[in-house]
Symmetry: C2
Subunit: 294 residues, 2 copies
């Protein structure tokens, strides 16, 4: 798969996700919270987490589009976290991806409910996943909950609050980012792997890959915040480093951070060595996130 | 089962729930959000929804304590909704069950995350349910998500926001309460029924029962708000009628509301006619909620 083929592949996957999400939101609930939910969910974006989930299934010889419900549940979780993170009591942001944030349009109370609604709908949609063994679906969704909650994303956001007023050390920074952003990468990769029937060896390699991918993503993001060439790669929540003093760049310096990003990226790629060309989309995604030529 | 036996039964079930929740919260996440989650989750209360789920399983000849993970997930969902509902942008309450509300102790940002964490953990815990057919578990958890989200509880809360500044008619009031409080009763009853292997006829009767139980609960709550004898029966969120002008009492008058509550309660009980004495706990719970002598 060359760079052109990958670009076409990524666009196609993203459109599949956009289409699934738009169609699912046509099924209306009982109130106007649906509109607030759709406003943020259907605002575009790279759809990185669902594309990673589908690409992981493809690394195991399955068709990614068979796992759209599970993949799109992840995007709903990601979107709810952005809505809640933008609220006045959190980051108090007025704009997200060039549009007014949810609470600026619908008010704080409705934005709170829109986030709650998306988090809840995520589980409903993931559990609509068909054509997989029920026990695999239970495992994948349970692990996703673990990655999204106090053991993962929510825990990382709470650490970020705790660290708000002080500099953190390298270990604390890593732990915070493993929760805030890394955990959903792990949910994406492991979710795709579990549903696609990965062996325990494959699952181990892919879990390590996901952890390194999340780390490379975060270091690169910190670098781009400094060098100012931030392509919009589905930036992680609170990634503008305004809430805490420490980033990988502030801790290590720009040059060392760049070397660390490159090394981490190579280590992530090496976790895919035992996979055939079915893993090419994952390889390209890795390089894309590490901002290297692919 | 007489009244004394029921009291002993209810106390035992409640203690099982309290014990499960306390033990589950011993498993710590990565941050201090766990403490904020435990503060509200382990604050006591009637544990009404989990007890109803377990009592429904018993109406079908199964042991209620076998379904503690599923039952306690419901309590986590109920608790998260209380935390978010108490936030300044919602009801702005300082006290809940005689204790400071979550955000008064931990701050708004952490309370927001504690609610998010409990909602997420609910799904993790429900999916830990063992000794049921995997497909039944998937159905029960998926339906619970539907009842908790924009089709149910979150939708009802959004309707409440929409209705905040005006009187509502009987149909609007019913729809709002079906979402805000009724949907979780349906999740409790159907969750227990699906896991315990109910036939489609039994499921139909129990679903109708749950809908009527939720209605009777709400009318009774509106009456108790007026007559001032509010026993703490796991009051539904926002039940103090301060946010909207209409209640069953304001719409129908006190006397007619009392008659409607009694009639609804009797209709709910009649849905249980085809069940044997295994449904006695459900019958007693119904009478308890309708504030009648049992």
């Amino acid at each position: 798969m060359d760079k052109t083929a990958f670009k076409a592949y990524y666009d196609k996957q993203r459109k599949l996700v956009d289409g699934f999400l738009a169609a699912r939101m046509e099924k209306k609930g009982i109130s106007s919270v649906d509109e607030a939910m759709a406003y943020s969910l259907l605002a575009g974006g790279k759809r990185l987490r669902p594309v990673i989930l589908m690409a992981t299934a493809e690394a195991l010889g399955q068709k990614g589009y068979n796992y759209l419900p599970m993949a799109c549940g992840l995007e709903m979780i990601h979107t709810y976290s952005l809505i809640h993170d933008d609220l006045p009591c959190m980051d108090d942001d007025d704009y997200r991806r060039g549009r007014l944030t949810n609470h600026k349009v619908y008010g704080e109370a409705m934005a709170l409910l829109a986030g709650d609604g998306l988090l809840t709908l995520a589980f409903e949609v993931m559990l609509e996943q068909k054509n997989v063994p029920p026990s695999a679906l239970i495992q994948a969704v349970r692990e996703t909950a673990m990655c999204a909650g106090n053991f993962g994303m929510v825990g990382g956001q709470a650490l970020d609050l705790t660290y708000a007023d002080r500099a953190v050390n390298a270990e604390e920074l890593r732990k915070m980012h493993q929760g805030k952003t890394g955990a959903l990468f792990i949910a994406a990769v492991r979710g795709g792997a579990v549903l696609a029937g990965a062996s325990s060896e494959q699952l181990l390699a892919l879990t390590k890959y996901a952890d390194l991918l999340g780390l490379a993503f975060q270091i690169t993001d910190d670098i781009l915040d400094v060098t100012g060439t931030a392509a919009e790669l589905g930036k992680p929540i609170g990634s503008d480093a305004k809430n805490h003093k420490s980033t990988y760049v502030s801790l290590y310096g720009l040059e060392a951070a760049e070397k660390l990003a490159e090394k981490t990226c190579e280590e992530a790629l090496s976790c895919l060595d035992s996979f055939d060309e079915g893993a090419d989309p994952l390889r390209h995604i890795t390089q894309m996130l590490c901002n290297k030529r692919s």
